[in-house]
């Protein structure tokens, strides 16, 4: 029969050893299970890193507008809060273009706005609104205020507005009707958006990444009411975890 056990690791300790050793290159004569685990943990295969540009775009946007947290897909209990915040923040939260100007008056832009180091594009309208944060001018400051218990102090003071402008542009663009969108992208006002997205045809997916929860019809749907809830550890954040507490199913699992 087989030179090695056919029924796998004899006990949990042996399984632990197998699992701990997974990243080692399996010897040529390794048993099938060891080879399977090594294959499962093998380096990236083609296509697995395809989302790199999108992830970096998200990183840039978050860096450029740290106070404007991108929305998590809303879980239900949050919705009420969101509505309340949307109402109270209505003046600040921009029905696209018009409010840009209005909010802009509230801000006291620094005399020299250094371009965000990580943001692509010329950003001609860099003085966009930092919407949804009435505190306005200092993204870093409001970020610190809105996430107690997190080391926001370690976040360097970021140029406040470029990412906010891109988010705002996305919002404005998504609010347009289908035929207007293509035309809008030829306008100088959207040039930085096109540049950041990497081309006109990628604006939609870029904007949906940046503003995933906002439907085109509800541009005011993204105040960041959840910002104060951001904990240092993500695990207690989601209601999903409530279902994950050790349950009856765990009890019998421990003995084997």
């Amino acid at each position: 029969m087989r030179p090695h056990r056919s029924d796998g690791p004899a006990d949990r300790a042996e399984s632990d050893r197998l699992l701990d050793a997974v990243h080692a290159v399996p010897p040529a004569d390794a048993d099938p299970l060891t080879r399977l685990l090594a294959a499962a943990a093998a380096p990236a295969t083609a296509g697995e890193l395809d989302g790199e540009d999108r992830a970096l775009a998200a990183f840039r946007a978050a860096r450029a507008a740290p106070a404007v947290a991108a929305p998590v897909p809303a879980s239900r209990p949050r919705r009420r809060l969101r509505v309340a915040a949307a109402l109270s923040g209505l003046a600040a939260t921009a029905v696209a273009g018009v409010a840009f100007a209005a909010v802009r008056l509230d801000r006291s832009p620094p005399p020299v706005v250094p371009p965000a180091p990580t943001t692509a594009g010329p950003a001609p309208t860099a003085a966009g609104p930092s919407r949804s944060t009435p505190a306005g001018p200092s993204g870093a400051a409001s970020g610190a205020a809105s996430s107690p218990g997190t080391p926001s102090g370690s976040r360097p003071a970021a140029p406040p507005s470029v990412g906010g402008a891109l988010v705002g542009h996305c919002r404005a663009w998504l609010a347009k009707s289908e035929p207007q969108r293509a035309k809008a992208l030829t306008k100088p006002g959207f040039a930085d958006l096109v540049a950041a997205a990497g081309g006109p045809d990628r604006v939609e997916s870029y904007c949906r990444t940046l503003v995933p929860a906002a439907s085109p019809k509800t541009p005011a749907a993204k105040p960041s009411p959840k910002a104060p809830k951001t904990p240092a550890d993500p695990s207690p954040k989601k209601s999903a975890d409530d279902e994950r507490k050790p349950g009856p199913g765990d009890q019998d699992d421990d003995e084997d």
């Binding site: 796998g8 632990d16 699992l19 099938p32 998200a58 998590v72 421990d254």
Partner: protein
Amino acid sequence: MVSRVDGRPTRDRVARAATVTRELNEAVTAAQAGDEEAFRFLYRSLQPALLRYLTTLVGGDAEDVASETWLQISRDLPSFTGGEFRAWSVTIARNRAMDHLRRQRRRPVVPVPVQALNDLAGDADTADRAGEALGTESALALIRTLPPAEAEAVMLRAVIGLDAETAGRVLGRRAGAVRTAAHRGLRRLAALLERAAPEDVPGAVRPRPRTGSQAPHASEAEPAEG
């Protein structure tokens, strides 16, 4: 290398894990300061494992959920205060996956991958190809046939690279429960491989590698709980 002499985690493993953790945390610190290349390093280091793990949770929607995950990682990066970054990230990924499943109200279909069995176990050259895409996909397809709690434990331990204690924190379960689930999963995998590849007929492939009692419940249980 595998230490088979005692039950303790190998010195190798501990040292390797510490190195990985330190490298990742250095990159996190740099990324928090705005270093885009550091973030790229984080992405390249973690994305393959996250994507594979997510595939066991949400099937073909894993790419989308991975995108959401990186969006949230980007946003919440300033709030990461240290510890095991892989665990932090995979917790985010898991939460996104659970939200996704709740929204979708459906579960991934997990057919028993006969072809994967054949690719992996029926081929004497498999060891040589272990690092290639085929071997990886086949291996993952087999792991996905496990009952979800076992599949998840195996993925967190073997692919994400967490120890049992950390994996337990991610899952909200005790380390012992994770060990047990992983152990059962490995035994099940070994049995699947055994049936698929009789030693004395290396190239032969049995048409029905499934065992009747083991594989089928993969598609029925909850995607995460055990």
